[in-house]
Assembly symmetry: C2
Homo-oligomer: 127 residues x 2
DNA sequence: CGATCACTTGACGTTAACGTCAACGTAAAG
DNA sequence: CTTTACGTTGACGTTAACGTCAAGTGATCG
């Protein structure tokens, strides 16, 4: 039997190319909650996964507290029907947001391609 | 012959649901450069278009100075071959960035769909 | 002609997301 | 046993992107 792997703060910081300050900040914001061995933080695979989600949210330009509510949606254990329908409405909001972003991105990519085309054409006429 | 339409700061702010402060801020950052009739700003269709690009960049989570360099890429009139190849490399960087974001978004959408599915299943078992 | 808009500049305030010390604990290594 | 490495908690600093006054200007309306 193998003991499940854990990480120190420096190991996680290295792997994801962030600082320990960032990790402590995320913890202070309630995004992570690593185990404590005395004073020292021990990150489990679960923390690692959450961190990856946080960083993806960050790449997408979400604020940290938005990210928290999103992530909390994922591993919530919902009880009653009211909470479930509320969660579903939240999901709808998120989906709309993400789909708007996707449209924005695809528009941007199309326009980039157009600029690139003109660029290469200009380059050819220079030769 | 119809005179081309222009906008006041309030009209643009209303239309795009931002404040005049935001518009002045974008101008201070070099993102917009409306005409001046005396002291007063007159926005032309060109400014309107740039504003739309800025706001799209903002929705995508870009910083304002990134947005400026991106937008400047669009309506630059490049002369020599060196600048053209440099511009092409910039375009490549942007494209990579945007494609990463698109992947992130599609992953997020997939996971959202999964959470939604489980939610609706839970709802059914409650009935 | 005084009031009311719509607009202007200037300057300081605010929030988020960390950066950057300072000062301390602790465990292994020489 | 002291140095070194790695970790910890404050606490204040910084930057971006505006918000929020305050105080003034110019056109128009009754």
């Amino acid at each position: 039997m193998t003991t499940p792997r854990t990480w120190s703060i420096a190991e996680l910081a290295d792997e994801f190319d962030i600082t320990h300050r960032t990790l402590r900040h995320y913890e202070a914001q309630g995004l992570l909650a690593p185990e404590r061995r005395g004073q020292v933080r021990i990150y489990h695979r679960r923390d690692r996964t959450r961190l990856a989600l946080v960083l993806r949210g960050r790449r997408l330009g979400f604020a940290l507290d938005e990210i928290r509510t999103i992530i909390d949606m994922y591993d919530e254990q919902p009880g009653e029907a009211g909470q479930l329908t509320y969660l579903l409405s939240q999901i709808e909001d998120r989906r709309r947001d993400l789909e708007q972003r996707r449209r924005d991105i695809e528009d941007s990519l199309r326009e980039l391609a157009e600029v690139e085309r003109r660029c290469q054409e200009d380059l050819r006429t220079l030769n």
